[in-house]
């Protein structure tokens, strides 16, 4: 069972408190009516299915209820970091070279 750091509660807590919520940084187009069928299908269905460093979303379902983002290595199952929804992707080079703060 993973230990996950909620960036809102600033606590590292068991996976049981959380719900996985799919890949991160997939923004719903601002004006869906203006995007093509292909672009809409891309948004709806296509996911990267990464082996390695993966940006993903979690919800602290049985805690503060907030959705947040995480960087996890899908091979080692280790979190590199977690960060608030809406924040930009963290820089990977910095992450890989500095151990995660509480995100393990």
């Amino acid at each position: 069972m993973l230990l996950i750091h909620c960036p809102y509660c600033n606590e590292t807590l068991p996976e049981l408190e959380y719900a996985y919520a799919g890949e991160a940084h997939i923004a719903r187009p601002a004006n869906p009516s203006e995007v093509s069928d292909e672009e809409w299908a891309e948004f709806l269905f296509m996911r990267s299915n990464v082996k390695g460093i993966h940006y993903e979303r979690w919800r602290h379902l049985h805690g503060c209820g907030r959705f947040f983002n995480a960087v996890r290595d899908t091979v080692s199952d280790k979190f590199l970091t977690t960060y608030e929804a809406g924040a930009p992707r963290p820089d990977l080079d910095t992450l890989v070279n500095t151990p995660a703060e509480g995100g393990k």
Partner: protein, 1006 residues
């Protein structure tokens, strides 16, 4: 004393006799005996039949890695457990045990014809044998496979025991309490760190229990164990025996199963049988030692053939000689010491046969001193004996060729193929292994967890090396936790260090194609099977494993993995690391379902949610059904009514006069805030801006793919306050979806979402007399003018604060009264009393389903299945096309969603008046050849409502443009024809929804 017990040896207390039975026969043993050691003390080796070939088998090991000696244990009603290893089950007074996989008896087994039909059962036999003909499947293959599959027999009664579950947070967990673990725990605990050490055995000591000759810092091994146990306890270390670390999970979570009662003659009250511990440790030390490998040769599974180290354990720990005339067959020095120990205890060792051409002078001298004949550079090619080994056939090896055979008469064969570090838990951590050519085994390298591995688990040999490595690793984990730790250095006398070689199957002069040289005893996999798998094209060890089932039994390849790998890599002509090792998976040893379930069984398996009115329903004879986690009243039978009769009566009474229904389980979400209406516009397909305060509307929720997710009536209680209802099962999902959009797509909206499902009791009143009943209890004037259909208001009902909705899920005049949850039953009883004058009926979910279907109201999840759009469901009217965006709008414009020929919701009426089955498939042409083209299915079907013929709803391709057409529903016995109709079967003009003007419904003065 029993025949094979050695006086003065072992740790078993024989002062008090313990009686138990095996195969109906009584045996005796002492305190500290396992079933295996006690049976062996009586010379009983035959303990079971093998899984596939039903070959006679005995214990090959002395511990939890035992693959053969699986027994069923029984202690009174309900307490039967299959597949218990006889080598770990303690005996106690009255224990009943039986062998497995035998028919009709252990000594004579007809299933052993499988053994003769050996060729049929070789690798991949399931895949090959049961391919054809197709018609053989139902009558021949499947019954055969079912009868043959599975180890042991499942218990048939409910388990009367209970199982506990605990969490534990500690600094250091040490797995394994042999010399390595003891030294590690001692070093780590020096500075007040919380340390737990666990061992699956009944007592700590590990290999020291089998090697009493060792002297540690001047103290004999067994006295040293006592001393260290006391020291550990004094240092605050928690020592847990009979406790198996079954799995290593993410972030240093280790699962432990502690067995509490399986060894006790009488069961203490209120003690769980097993306790599952979820231990989260700062650091973990793995000190699980090493497991001995068998040698692979023809007949290496005959009862009496066992691991040399295990024979040594039976002697030194249990005081049992496994044979009086054993022969030792080995590739490793360790078996020589087993030979010496048995000889010193009075056995006449027939020979030490070593595959190597040279061993140390000390070993040769040891054999000479004891008059044990030695044969170096020999191979073993067969054993003889039916239910017990009688002789070992050995051949001299010369320059790579197998020489003439010679038979050595014996009553036991003690074999050693060397030792494999126990890497199971280390592998669970996704730890990396590195191949060690010298030791011909994998050794641990890197792990992503905060974990170290010590002693024999990392290939160190000998007690002194284990102790010093354990101490050093204990100090290291303490250091990792910021403490100094205290590693002492140990000196061991009479230590038995040594080395060996690792073999594939032993060379033979007999036909290798006919050899039954077992690699995996539990799954009956032979060396020949592995080579066959490679010949037939399996290249990856993972494929070889699945094709042959090598290492897939309950022992998870403890004894078979490296032998299997050596053989597969030889067959493939590639080095072992290029072939790779299969994955060890948890649990380390077979674990009871009870331990995993813990407290979650029976009514505690899942939460049962009950409404405030549930108790009334129970008192009034309701039959219940589960709806997601809720227990809901299904129908209320009166005086022996059948379900159909009850539902028919409930439906009729509600349509004619009045029905009352507990709708409290409906999901309720309060949407408030300045941007509430904008949020609702974006979430739901409907437009909300123009909905006045005090009005409600049926809302449809889609996903962004355009498919229906949920529905419910939504009331606007204020400019910025919506009372949203959802389906009973969808409440949590809808709230999660709303939160997702609100938090991550539209964080600019100022809206708050609150689940209020359990804050309200909701009572639905439906029927022509609903307004008449309710009017006296409220000052809201319940007329068509003042409070028309789809109105809502915050008011008082029967003196209780209420949210009153005028809505209908039946087509009748309907109200939903929400009052604070605890007041629900009081209101229900008030309305029930007052309703007697109208002949009120309480109705359950079944009547609700029938009445709504008669009006064509859908149930999301029954009439929709996640591929149905609002248009498919005939509810295009609920889509606010003028809105710039809402969840699902763009999805609804996808090419496939606007294509012709989509499945659409329609009504069906059968031509012969029969009731259709829900889920039945529909075809347009019943005369077409099979397989027919299916064009839809029946989603709802009822024949107990108020219509004069059965009705059904169905999804049918292009259904909306096929009104009046006939479709066919092929059933096993006949084909039913049905006509496509609209979905509304009752009161299509909604006349009954209106409160007649003549009725005098005036509000009582406030």
């Amino acid at each position: 004393m029993s025949q094979y017990r050695v006086s003065g040896k072992g740790r078993v207390d024989l002062s008090k006799k313990i009686n138990f039975t095996f195969e109906g026969k009584s045996y005796t043993g002492g305190q500290g005996d396992t079933v295996a050691s006690a049976l062996l003390s009586h010379g009983v080796h035959l303990m079971g039949r093998s899984f596939k070939y039903h070959r006679p088998r005995g214990a090959v090991a002395a511990g939890s890695e035992e693959p053969n000696a699986l027994i069923g244990t029984r202690r009174g009603p309900g307490r039967f457990e299959p597949n218990t290893r006889a080598t770990v089950q303690d005996i106690y007074e009255g224990l009943q045990t039986n062998a497995q996989n035998k028919y009709p008896s252990l000594k004579f087994d007809v299933g052993a014809v499988n053994d003769a039909a050996y060729m049929l059962f070789s690798a991949g036999f399931y895949y090959k044998t049961f391919m054809w003909p197709r018609s053989f499947w139902d009558k021949v293959y499947e019954p055969f496979i079912r009868a043959a599959a599975g180890l042991g027999v499942s218990p048939t009664e409910e388990d009367p025991d209970h199982y506990a579950s605990r969490n534990l947070h500690i600094d250091v967990l040490v797995v394994g309490a042999g010399p390595t673990g003891i030294a590690a725990a001692k070093a780590a605990s020096a500075e007040g760190l919380s340390v737990v050490i666990v061992d699956e055995n009944r007592e700590i000591g590990g290999t020291l229990l089998s090697e009493p000759q060792a002297v540690i810092d001047g103290i004999p091994a067994w006295a040293w164990i006592e001393q260290e146990l006391a020291a550990l306890k004094a240092q605050g270390v928690k020592v847990m025996t009979r406790t198996t670390a079954i799995g290593y999970y993410n972030d240093n979570l280790v699962g432990l199963v502690q067995k509490l009662t399986d060894h006790l003659p009488s069961l203490p009250a209120d003690t769980p049988r097993e306790r599952m511990w979820r231990v989260r440790a700062g650091q973990v030390v793995l000190a699980q030692g090493a497991l001995e490998k068998p040698l692979v040769f023809h007949g290496n599974d005959r009862p009496g053939v066992m691991l040399a180290g295990s024979a040594q354990t039976f002697l030194n720990r249990y005081g049992v000689l496994v044979g009086k005339r054993p022969v030792v067959l080995t590739a490793h020095d360790s078996a020589w010491y087993a030979a010496f120990d048995l000889a010193d205890a009075g056995a006449k060792v027939q020979a030490i046969v070593d595959v190597r051409d040279g061993v140390s002078e000390a070993l040769i001298a040891g054999a000479r001193d004891r008059n044990i004949p030695v044969r170096l550079s020999y191979t073993a090619t067969a054993t003889k004996g039916r239910l017990r080994v009688k002789s070992l056939r050995v051949n001299r090896m010369q320059g790579g060729t197998v020489g003439a055979a010679e038979e050595i008469s014996c009553d036991a064969v003690l074999m050693s193929g060397g030792w494999t570090p126990s890497l199971h838990l280390f592998s669970h951590t996704k730890g990396k292994l590195a191949w060690d050519d010298d030791r011909t085994t994998f050794l641990p390298e890197m792990t992503p967890e905060d974990c170290v591995i010590a002693g024999a688990s990392r290939g160190l040999w000998g007690i002194e090396a284990a102790l010093n490595d354990g101490a050093e690793k204990g100090r290291a984990v303490a250091a990792a936790l910021g403490k100094a730790g205290n590693a002492v250095s140990y000196t061991v006398a009479e230590d038995r260090t040594g080395s060996g070689v690792s073999m594939k199957e032993l060379p033979t002069d007999l036909s290798p194609g006919k050899a039954k040289a077992f690699v995996d005893y539990q799954n009956d996999v032979t060396a020949k099977d592995l080579r066959l798998a490679v010949r037939e094209g399996m290249r990856s060890i993972e494929h070889v494993k699945r094709y042959t089932t090598n290492g897939m039994a309950t022992d998870q390849g403890k004894m078979s993995n490296i032998n299997g790998l050596n053989i597969a890599s030889d067959a493939l002509g590639r080095k072992q690391p290029q072939v790779g090792l299969t994955t060890f998976r948890p649990p380390y040893t077979p674990t009871s379902f009870g331990a995993f379930a813990g407290y979650h069984r029976g009514s505690h398996f899942e939460v049962t949610r009950k409404t405030q009115i549930d108790a009334w329903a129970e008192e009034n004879g309701a039959v219940f059904e589960p709806v997601s986690q809720w227990r809901r009243a299904w129908y209320f039978p009166k005086g022996g009514e059948s379900m159909d009769d009850a539902v028919r009566r409930e439906c009729a009474t509600t349509r004619k006069s009045l029905g009352i229904f507990d709708a409290s389980t409906l999901g309720k979400i309060e949407v408030v805030g300045p941007d509430a209406v904008e949020f609702m516009n974006r979430m739901y397909t409907n437009p909300w801006t123009k909905l006045g305060v005090g009005k409600c509307r049926y809302g449809l929720l889609c996903g962004d793919d355009g498919f229906i997710r949920d529905d419910g009536v939504i009331g606007r209680l204020g400019q910025d306050k919506f009372h949203v209802t959802t389906t009973t099962g969808g409440a949590a999902r809808v709230l999660n979806m709303m939160e997702d959009y609100l938090q991550t797509e539209w964080p600019d909206l100022n809206v708050w979402l609150t689940s209020t499902t359990e804050e309200w009791s909701t009572i639905a009143l439906n029927g022509p007399n609903a307004a008449k009943l309710l009017q006296p209890f409220t000052d809201v004037t319940l007329t068509e003018e003042n409070f028309p259909h789809m109105s809502c208001v915050e008011c008082e009902v029967a003196g209780m604060p209420a949210r009153l909705f005028r809505v209908s899920f039946t087509g009748e005049i309907g109200f939903e009264v929400n009052v604070p949850a605890p007041m629900g039953r009081q209101l229900w009883e008030t309305l029930w009393e007052a309703g007697q004058q109208y002949g009120i009926t309480a109705y359950g979910t079944e009547t609700m389903h029938v009445l709504r279907a008669e009006k064509g109201y859908i149930i999301v999840g029954q009439d929709t299945d996640g591929t149905v759009t609002p248009y498919d469901a005939g509810m295009g009217w609920a889509v606010g096309k003028a809105k710039p965006d809402f969840v699902g709008k763009r999805g609804l414009a996808r090419p496939d969603l606007v294509a012709e020929g989509r499945k659409q919701l329609v009504g069906l009426v059968t031509e012969d008046g029969s009731k259709l089955e829900e889920g039945a498939q529909i075809v347009f042409d019943a005369s077409q050849p099979i397989p027919m083209k299916m064009v839809g299915h029946v989603t709802s079907s009822y024949d107990v409502g108020t219509t004069d013929q059965p009705i059904a709803l169905a999804l049918v391709e292009g259904g909306h443009s096929r009104m009046g057409e006939t479709v066919f529903i092929p059933m096993p016995d006949r084909t039913i024809s049905a006509k496509i109709t609209g979905t509304i079967f009752v009161d299509p003009d909604n006349a009954k929804l209106k409160i007649p003007a003549s009725a005098e419904n005036k509000g009582v003065a406030a």
